[in-house]
Amino acid sequence: MLLECKNLCKSYGTKIALNNVNLNIERGRIIGLLGPNGSGKTTLIKILSGILTASSGEALISGNPIGIETKKIVSYLPERTYLSEWMTVRQAVNFFKDFYDDFSEETAYDMLERLNISPADSLKTMSKGTKEKVQLILVMSRHAELFLLDEPIGGVDPAARDYILKTILTNYNENASVIISTHLISDVENILDEVVFLKYGCLMLHKTVDEIREENGKSVDALFREVFAC
């Protein structure tokens, strides 16, 4: 088992963001983490990446509790821009190369070239969308075991969206899993193996996409609209 969440809870004061989440993820899967705003998707991803500490419960990645050992094998893409503005793209690549043993410089430069992003460009002068592309390239250039992607296609144009999804598909190996949190279900539906629905911090559903289609006779997007109808 790659990821095990046992009775995971997170609260901010009186507000409960995650409520007793139990979730197991195997290797070699692409999982859609879906839910309306405030359902706890980002909170769950932040806990798994080590940005937040759970109020109670336990999360294990490759059998290790969240810490330095899990950070070595988890590649995390947050929904915000986290690269330092003083850096050039080349310096950002060097930064990842310096700190992550599983980072492939060659893969990163290859993807940058395909997206016409010059390594000499300064991050300060880049548009938000281009910065997000650079971040995704850096994150996907790692041979990590678990990729946590929080809204990876939210801020980019549809053409780049296709490229990003193709990148995700081609850059993870059978030993790794990818968890994608997004609202754009129809865009990612074709690449997903499993879906996890979260509502008010509770895990509502965890099924394979095939099971949803067979049992419910619906697409993931249609089921989402039905389950989370306002």
């Binding site: 080590g50 940005i51 330095i68 050992e69 950070k71 995390y76 330092s84 700190f99």
Partner: protein, 279 residues
């Protein structure tokens, strides 16, 4: 990993420091040039005016350069560990203590470089480029004179005082920065207005530190206080005793600084490691 973190700390700010050092060097060279010109062209009001303006500008730059280490280090810590960049830094496979220590070491590196830059530029500006080396060279002479003035006992106390002062000044950047880091760590615990709460925590911690120091000082060094009070009314106390009292007070200050700094460091490290709460 620590070395790599320090490398990126230096890379992040070297352009800003470089530009300020270059500006200070330029103004110091201009000041030297106009000062020489003024002495060649007697009573030229325009030259005197330019020299005066450049002198004021140089002094302002020195003040800016001296205070910028703390300002830049505070901004860097906030942006890099508490704001958006923290999403990258806190997911690096490095322990939290390394993130804090690397920033602290960078503060020391910049402090040393700033001290050198100010020393060299001051030498150029005032036409004494080697004053720093001359001052170091004159230390043996100063020691001999001090020994003659204060006697062997007084000199030994003075030497201890200077060593304590040195230790205190070495600790000073760590004390200041760890207080700020601890305040940011406390601010991080709040779910809203983290920056505002960090500023508030800075003052709360400062006031608490002053109260604790004052209370301890009253008990621990009551002898020193009494002696100083006595010296106001009685005849002048001997140099040896006076330096002895000053040394005791200095030692107590150093001990307090170390205790508070270690406390701030441990608390900040624990909070960022166990209670990290990025927005």
């Amino acid at each position: 990993m620590l070395r790599k973190l320090i490398k990126y700390e230096i890379l992040a700010d070297y352009k800003k420091y470089g530009a300020t050092f270059a500006a200070m060097l330029l103004v110091s060279c201009l000041l030297l040039f106009f000062d020489k010109m003024t002495s060649w062209i007697n009573n030229n009001l325009f030259m005197k005016l330019i020299t005066g303006v450049l002198g004021a500008l140089f002094m302002a730059l020195v003040v800016v350069v001296c205070s910028m280490v703390m300002v830049f280090a505070t901004m860097r810590f906030y942006k890099n560990l508490v704001r958006d960049e923290g999403y990258l830094m806190h997911t690096l496979p490095v322990p939290t203590w390394m993130l804090i220590v690397s920033k602290l070491i960078a503060v020391y590196i910049w402090t040393i470089l700033v001290a050198f830059a100010v020393g060299i530029c001051s030498g150029i500006a005032f036409g004494e480029p080697f004053w720093l080396f001359e001052m170091i060279g004159s230390i043996p002479e100063v020691i001999t004179e001090a020994r003659e003035i204060f006697g062997d006992g007084g000199y030994n106390q003075l030497r201890t005082f200077i060593i304590y002062m040195g230790i205190f000044f070495v600790l000073l950047p760590a004390m200041g920065m760890l207080h700020i880091y601890f305040s940011f760590a406390l601010g991080n615990l709040f779910n809203r207005h983290k920056l505002g709460m960090s500023v508030l925590m800075f003052f709360v911690v400062y006031i608490a530190e002053q109260i604790i120091s004052s209370v301890f000082m009253m008990f621990v060094s009551s002898d020193i206080m009494r002696s100083v009070m006595d010296s106001q009314t009685s005849t002048a106390i001997p140099d040896e005793r006076m330096f002895g009292y000053m040394n005791e007070a200095m030692l107590v200050s150093i001990i307090f600084s170390v205790i508070f700094s270690v406390g701030y460091y441990i608390a900040a490290e624990r909070i960022f490691a166990k209670k990290l709460n990025l927005e």
